[in-house]
Subunit: 793 residues, 2 copies
């Protein structure tokens, strides 16, 4: 039972593991042969049974009630990205052939691609915004029409029904798209992009189809009135755009433009994906610097000046494009006042200033945000476990999404119905959708406005509406309702982000906090008077409490509010929220990453891990090849399911004794596959000279979807041939001595974005291999260093 459940955890919360369903044909072959890790230490694992056996199989873990135990596992199904260039002879020859001018051309194409990434990401943001606004407007019109018509007849239930049906329909379309066409497009996509930037290859995450489903899905869920935002998905969209544009071809569309072939490797692609993610953040929040810092915070290990500069360029272009087209759309070209999808409005220091003695108050708000955020994460964690357990059928998922949509509508309606918070209708008011409902003429229902607005507008309204706009009770009820809706919504099989709901919840209780303050200390001075800044701090606290981002979030919020003097309080609030929240549970994205058992590498090794050395963490024994190896051996090793390695040290054996040979290179599974496919065999008749020499292009053409070993037919004759690996292996892999401490290994591994680190003894003989999972297994638990188990789930 437990096994089933653990196996079925997948990104979207949908039940079918990504690698097992019929629709994953394109990938399954590769995946089954492609799990990169040595299981030397896991000799008891039985792959056929697909259970979560581990070396030290704990009987307790088999109890069905022990669902959360799978977070103590690291899945072996994820491969790593090859961020380290394989500097083999082919590569070096190509580099040496290139003139300074060609390097300059390459650099220019990198800039061009980044500009293109920014442009396309900005356009996608525009498209989403325009369509959502159009649909929301239509919906409002229809509902308003009915409400106006039936309010006096008492037939409100018809309006409610209409509203609920409209919302559910939208959401149904979105959920069907996601559940049946591309489950990886569910959610905000930020956890997946975090993993990708961290160096983990998440299947299907940067494909064109994912992008299409994501964009349509997010439009449907926002238009469907769910408690979601369209900002998170922009980050994913930007990343997909980047991965697509930079490769100069679409594997899905079977179209190869024959450009940018140089960039067809993981190193370059990951760099461009960072730029895409940054462009997405930039378009979402109008925060180009925040975007850059997001990419750096999540992805960077090695600081590359030119890369950062290009990322910044993509971000700038993205926010500029959005700004440019949105101002044209709104009929005010050239005003450039819409840098992002969400516009917090400017906080001018002259109007909304804060004082030194307010900082402790802000810190208290940060702590509240941390608590509420932890509560949100815990609830969502349980809900996700529940979903994994019982809601793994697609139709169930679609139905749940529709249910949430209907409940959202019903709750909103109920609150509007029972609230009597009437506010005078002001001229030039920010409310685009005032609903009179049961209010007197010339007034509008504030609660209705809060629910009918797009969440973005509600946030701005909470920040900037003058004191007295909102009734405290309205705010309290709204906070509660929206909190419950938001935690229920996150993890549904729809494309949607959690940024805006978090900001909205926080802004609501933050404003409430501000109002209560001014009620408690009415006469003190006028500095409490504006609850807008408390709304801002509350929003920061709540968002920080949920996602636990720090540096980039501060900058995003500072950029979005356009006021640098708010930097310090926002930073303090976010830090407090993170510290308080981390005491209970990690951030929402990390919870979901953990539920996926992704081998995520944090930026530093656990503090107390100096006890461990490379000898203890490495996997051994290692399957190695000789420089000149028999084809049959290679095919057998690659085909063996028990040794699904992805990188193989190449050694020179000094004698015939059993001891391992001296390291002279490292070759990847993908390279061997290409070699086998092109039958680069030696000593097989003399016709070999006629054969075209294998070029880097052949490797690039096969990238990134290398065929599985099973698809390559090697005849019995060919099995007897030899393969010369010398030209294709990386002759200078990084190595460490076996007594190197874990932090040192970790630093080297992370700084260079390695995939395999060879452990050698004092005469350079291979004794082990350190891979991502070997490092990711160690983490700081409540009681010091803890070790996770590895599993094929």
């Amino acid at each position: 039972m437990a096994n089933n459940i653990a196996k079925k955890v997948s990104w979207s919360g949908e039940g079918t593991p990504l690698l097992n369903g019929a629709e994953e044909r394109g990938y399954s072959g590769q995946a089954s042969g492609g799990s990169m890790f040595h299981i030397g230490r896991m000799s008891t694992v039985d792959l056929e049974e697909e259970t979560i056996n581990t070396e030290e199989l704990d009987p307790v873990k088999l109890r069905p009630s022990e669902i959360p135990h799978n977070e103590k596992l690291l899945s072996l199904k994820y491969e790593s990205l090859d961020y380290d260039n394989s500097e083999n002879q082919l590569f070096l020859e190509e580099e040496r052939r290139m003139s300074p001018m060609s390097f300059r051309c390459l650099e220019i194409s990198r800039w061009f691609i980044c500009g293109l990434i920014g442009l396309l990401t900005g356009l996608i943001a525009c498209f989403i915004d325009v369509v959502v606004e159009y649909l929301a407007g239509k919906k409002y019109e229809a509902v308003k029409h009915y409400i106006d018509k039936f309010t006096e007849d008492g037939g409100l239930s018809v309006s409610l029904l209409l509203w609920a049906i409209l919302n559910s329909t939208f959401v149904m379309v979105g959920a069907i798209l996601v559940a049946f066409f591309e489950p990886i497009a569910a959610g905000s996509g930020i956890p997946q992009i975090k993993c990708y930037l961290n160096g983990v290859k998440i299947p299907r995450v940067v494909r064109l189809k994912t992008l299409l489903v994501k964009v349509c899905g997010v439009i449907c869920s926002v238009a469907g009135g769910l408690a979601v935002g369209k900002e998170g998905p922009m980050i994913h969209s930007g990343a997909v755009v980047a991965a697509g544009v930079s490769q100069g071809r679409s594997t899905s569309l079977k179209k190869d433009f024959k450009i940018f072939e140089y960039f067809r490797r993981d190193t370059e692609k990951r760099d461009f994906v960072s730029a895409g993610a940054a462009a997405g953040v930039s378009a979402a929040f109008g925060a180009p610097v925040g975007g850059v810092l997001f990419s750096l915070e999540e992805g960077a290990s090695f600081w590359n000046q030119m890369l950062t500069w290009r990322i910044f360029f993509a971000s700038m272009i993205s926010t500029f494009t959005l700004n440019f087209f949105m101002t044209i759309y709104k009929g005010k070209p050239g005003e450039f006042s819409n840098p992002g999808l969400i516009n917090f409005g400017r906080f001018d220091s002259e109007n909304v200033e804060y004082n030194l003695y307010e900082i402790p108050l802000f810190i208290v708000m940060g702590a509240i945000g941390g608590l509420l955020g932890a509560l949100f994460n815990v609830l969502n964690y349980w809900l996700t476990i529940f979903r994994i357990r019982y809601l793994h059928r697609r139709c169930l998922q679609v139905m749940e999404a529709m249910l949430v949509a209907a409940v959202s509508a019903a709750v909103s309606f109920a609150m509007i119905y029972f609230s009597s918070d009437c506010q005078p209708l002001k001229k030039n008011s920010q409310e685009e959708y005032p609903l009179q409902l049961f209010c007197a003429d010339g007034e509008y229902n504030a609660m209705a406005t809060a629910f009918f607005n797009t969440p973005e507008k509600s946030v701005t309204s909470l920040f900037h509406s003058p004191p007295g706009t909102y009734n405290p009770l309205t705010l309290a009820l709204f906070t509660l309702a929206y909190f419950l809706l938001a935690f229920w919504t996150y993890g549904l099989t729809v494309s949607a982000g959690v940024f805006i709901p978090s900001l909205l919840i926080g802004a609501a209780w933050g404003r409430l906090f501000g109002i209560l303050l001014s009620l408690l200390f009415p006469s003190k001075n006028t500095i409490w008077a504006d609850p807008g800044k408390y709304a801002l701090m509350g929003a920061a606290a709540q968002l920080g409490g949920i996602v636990r981002m720090t540096l980039s979030l501060t900058v995003i919020l500072v950029e979005a509010t356009g006021n640098v003097t708010y930097g310090l309080p926002i930073m303090l609030v976010l830090m407090t929220a993170k510290i308080v929240g981390d005491y209970f549970i990690e951030g929402l994205y990390d919870v979901h990453i953990r539920l996926q058992s992704v081998p995520f590498l944090h930026s530093e090794a656990p503090a107390t891990s100096h006890w461990l050395t490379a000898r203890e963490v490495m996997s051994s024994p290692v399957t190695s090849f000789n420089k000149i190896e028999k084809v049959g051996t290679i095919v057998d090793v690659l085909s063996a399911t028990s040794t699904n390695h992805n990188g193989f040290p190449v050694v020179v054996n000094s004698g015939t004794d059993n001891e391992s040979g001296r390291l002279c290179g490292l070759i990847l599974r993908s390279q061997l596959i290409v070699l086998l496919k092109h039958k680069v065999f030696v000593e097989r008749m003399r016709s070999q000279q006629n054969r075209r020499r294998l070029q880097l292009k052949d490797f690039r053409d096969a990238y990134p979807r290398f065929p599985p070993i099973q698809s390559i037919h090697v005849s019995q004759d060919e099995r007897e041939c030899l393969m010369d690996l010398q030209e294709f292996m990386n002759p200078t892999p990084y190595t460490v001595p076996e007594e190197t401490s874990l932090p040192r290994v970790f630093k080297l591994f992370r700084a260079l974005g390695l995939r395999h680190l060879v452990v050698v003894d004092d005469v350079n003989r291979v004794i082990g291999l350190v891979t991502r999972k070997d490092l990711a297994r160690y983490h700081m638990g409540k009681h010091g260093l803890e070790e996770m188990d590895l599993a094929h789930a």
Copy 2:
């Protein structure tokens, strides 16, 4: 002759080499024994003669007229920082003894220190600002009094004389301080901090005395009316504060607070210095994010999330402190409108918007800025060469500074005299110092204002004054005069920055550009109407053309203007300026770094360097020690001036044959010195057990000023003893095989901040050592890869 000149290049442009003068006693011992580089390849170097001999001594280079040839050299006098921890047994034992709680305490102290750095940096900025403003006010009063008195009497020359004398006196005090007390405090300090963050140990750069001289010096030079700014020096000041605070002691004051002892090593110190530099930028420009990016751009190689976050904290605290105290000083507590020393004023997108078709214009301005910047740098380069050649006596330097001050006053006066740009005196005008001079009543002389204002205020005025405030001719003359004064001033023996003069020059011609545009196309539309945005772009272009910073400068300018929509044009302008400028000459700071022959590592290896391998770049042969080595041998090696290495591989010899042994560790000169000082010898009677075991504390106490080998007396008896290096050496140094390509070596070296990288053969025998200079020697010249020579100058 050429030798003399090359030898005498030093940071301040003053003639005495840092290591030769009598006042460098404290350092000279260490330096003479401390140059870290192997000179295996430089067997012909004769250290006694102090000439610039190199292996391939070119006779052409000896011609006296060939001054600039020394920029093809790399000096061997600079040591590198040990950014890589030496994970020896002592270190590992300490780390392993520490509980998770102690790691948490360490982390908290890091945060505390960063807060303190921010606070102190902010206070220093306050102090400078207040004192400068006070002195400038006094000076204006005095001069205005005389001008008012004598204008009608025709005795203007008296006023001029008074003005010139006042200015010269201020500057004289500043110049004397710098020239006679701490020459390293000259200039902006940014090149030095760049080098430090790059990993080069610049002598005396982070000492308390340097800070004191820097602060007093900058006050004097700004008050003395030189064409300088006080922003650059803030970065240096922040760095010194950081280096001081983080060590918990002052070596100069001989005071040890016995705190923060854990941080007494290069790794931690360099991290704190990054925070200090960021805090300095933040205080100078009110740009905390810009500060972080400055530190990252200049210093970071390995991205460390927690470190970045702490740097950001220091920056925030710094700008907040400045803001807080300045608002109190100005009598408006709580308004927080002074985030930085320079305040550009807010560019509101509603008022000063730009349009798509203006972007090409901005790019043209960027090109102009690049050209003018290159001109500035070339002129300053020649001037610096001239100074090195003829102005190396201290009194000459002081006199030159005074001359510049007097000329600055005279030029200003002349321009005020001949200009008749009278502007009506407006109420609430930004001009704090209106001078009527020959204007009608109710008017003031615009040129006089431009010269009398602090440069910061002039910049703001150029950005924000309404159209028509400045006469085009005034602007043109002002640009010319200020350009000449600024290039003459930079490199004087005074503490002063180049940011503000650059901004001012650029703002002046930028505004002129805007005015000309509106004259050329008068009727087109109102978008040209405000020349303020052209002033901003001009300022960006000029500054970018001179200093060639990119990412951080964009963010600094965006933060200082408070408008994110200007981000893209500013970025494009800076990029254009950099591209155009780089075609002619590198950035001003880089010019000065090159003139110092500092082995500066850029962020990436030259593009076409795949031809080279570790075998070609490494230094060999390498002096190695055995695990248990005779004291006499160690003393001899350390004392030998011909092998002034700083790191020694420790090897195990398999046999008695002559071939080098297998690598088993790496030990630093500084560690050996401490070992010798504490006489950690074995096999010397049995009394050894009584001896206290050497602890990490002993190494920390000696840090950073390890005594020279000459100061350690080793008796003839002791020379026969043995020393066991095993406990103290780093047992897991990073290694590369000899066929590793240069870019790969470079990446490893830079990513981990290494000082020594051991090159080994296929059985782990030491065959060479790669150090900073070996990598810094290669750079892209006009004709492809070029190699620099190494010299002891």
